[in-house]
Symmetry: C2
């Protein structure tokens, strides 16, 4: 496990040793009297490297046996108590081979998504139905406009839940019918991804509604519903790709490339939303690039997860984003399309055309 | 809702306005064309107050109807996307009357815990069974020693899960029998609180084992298992008091008095563990005091939740801690008791005696 630690140089060794104890036995070493525990369970500091003024990268070895095969317990051992330390960030995990694969990872991933929407090479497009507060028929009309405009994945705003102004079951049915109608009109397939949010029982009910309505994808925020419940939802056989939303992910304390690009992927996300720089969220460009790299890198034999940069993007930024991320990306534009009002279909077509132009393989080769 | 925001003075109004949009409609105001949504759903900035150099407290009014009665959706609306902003912290929530009570809150709380352990006035005591890696019989022996020493609540280390060296079902049975044996020996009741951790299905299985074994309490980390799953576990009728552990809760930037003292309480915690200053966690003393105050304050008609300061405490600090927190507190000492080795029962008795001496009502009156 790698942690980033803020410390004075003369204190860093003691802080690293305390971190290794905190994330394993959680007692002073003097209280560990069993040789088995000392040798096999106590965490060990493997290395301490400087990472700038007053910053260090500390590698700690934790015993895999303390994790079990459980999501909650794994997060507990990785960052349970140390999350309470302001000076510690969980930077990365290099688990033993096969550890992540036990959780399954993406069942569709980049390739599966491309197959479902019939787009083998170009960047994919996504748009969001909002604002919440609209009645079902208006949300469905927006969904239809996006699908007519040629969007690959139309997702609910993650704020849409089961509110009285647009109840979940009604909304899902109406929006799914809207994308099916558009498909008959255009011959092009749009996946509709409703937002699943709630307690474990509510999630199971919502997943059943998705199946009954023939919905093609699901949006879930693992940090909101809880990572163990997220994983159970996926592992219990939700039959469609899952788009992970970063809400409440507290990404300031767990390094986003690990949390979004590896952990959410390990738990079964097929695509993962994160803020692109220069929008509503002040993430540095390099960090956005690292999230995308982590999400597509070879890791533990899992399928790659589709990176979905978002957060205040606009059609004008498409060429720059495709240049930055390459073709294995899904661009998500939300509010800025909706500003078009009655010209929504036309504006959506501009978005889709911009992605197709920027992402055509020949254009990609030119840029390379 | 109150947020703490870092901003330059000339930017704070724009940041506050963006925050109100982000936590409600999540589109530019220009994309909100429906009068109903503009008037009833869009978040509103109610006030901006300076809170030190470059720091502001921003009050935002969000529509309760967007929350529904759901835990995940409530957290989503409170801090979903804004958790991705480094400059924003969720400081507090002043919900409409009755909102929190819908979730139920503590079923035992301070008074119920006192009744169960037969201690109507003095501070309560707690100790932790660790380190993980020990076999079941050694953990049960430690549990027995703590109970013989007179501890009110003996909890599993939160690192104990269902590992092969101390499987959950075996451990719970052995430790519960250990506290029952001690009760026959001393006539004094100790509650054993095993650590429940895992996916929603695993939690349900573990809760069933607790019932079958007649266990008196449960330890659960809401941020690890997921707050919705935590609430479902409590609401589904786990019949014993729940001690909330703060593991992984630091991963989101939510002010501890709200997260631990109000939100965990709203979800049904009867006691809540948090770091006391001057131990292994560098929380300021004032923050610890605020958590305790929030946990016991009148709020939404819920029972108070027992504050449990911990994190590297020792017997020597008992008088100071009781002075600081008063009698409505449960003191939790973990590793520092275990350092006593073979003298564990004697050292535990010192802890219990120190709490009884410091917390006797006459002593409290003297100090007041």
């Amino acid at each position: 496990m790698k942690y980033r630690v803020r410390a004075r140089p003369k204190e860093v060794e003691a802080i690293a040793a305390a971190l290794a104890l905190e994330q394993s036995v959680e007692v002073p070493l003097a209280a560990v009297r069993e040789p088995f525990v000392r040798e096999n369970i106590v965490g060990r500091v493997e290395s301490i490297e400087t990472a700038g003024e007053g910053r260090f990268e500390v590698a700690v070895r934790l015993a895999a046996v303390t994790f079990g095969g459980d999501v909650a317990q794994s997060v507990n051992m990785l960052f349970g108590n140390s999350s309470l330390h302001d000076h510690v960030e969980l930077a990365d995990v290099e688990p033993p081979e096969g550890w992540a694969a036990r959780f399954g990872g993406p069942r569709f991933g980049i390739e599966g998504l491309r197959r479902l929407v019939g787009a083998p090479e170009r960047p994919l497009t996504s748009a969001a139905i909002k604002p919440q507060g609209l009645p079902v028929e208006k949300l469905a009309a927006i969904c239809h406009a996006f699908a007519l405009g040629g969007i690959d994945v139309v997702k609910d705003d993650h704020g849409l839940a089961d509110q009285p102004y647009s109840p979940f079951a009604e909304r899902v049915r109406a929006c799914q019918r809207a994308v099916e109608r558009a498909r008959r009109e255009t011959g092009r397939r749009t996946l509709y991804a409703p937002s699943l949010v709630g307690s474990p029982k509510a999630l199971a009910t919502q997943a059943r509604i998705l199946r009954d309505e023939g919905v093609g994808m699901a949006l879930v925020a693992p940090a909101l519903v809880g990572m163990p419940a997220f994983h159970e939802l996926v592992a219990d056989g939700i039959g469609v790709p899952v788009l992970a939303h970063p809400a409440y992910s507290g990404a300031a304390r767990v390094a986003p490339p690990f949390l979004l690009g590896k952990l959410f992927r390990m738990l079964g996300a097929d695509a993962v939303i994160f803020p692109h720089h220069g929008g509503r969220f002040a993430w540095p460009k390099a960090l956005c690039g690292e999230v995308a790299r982590a999400s597509r890198a070879d890791w533990q034999g899992l399928r790659p997860v589709m990176p979905v940069p978002a957060g205040g993007m606009s059609v004008e930024r498409v060429p720059e984003m495709v240049r930055f991320y390459g073709p294995d990306v899904m661009l998500l534009i939300g509010g800025s399309l909706l500003v078009a009002g009655d010209a929504l279909v036309a504006r959506t077509r501009e978005f889709v055309a911009a992605v197709e132009a920027a992402g055509a393989p020949e254009r990609q080769r030119e840029l390379a």
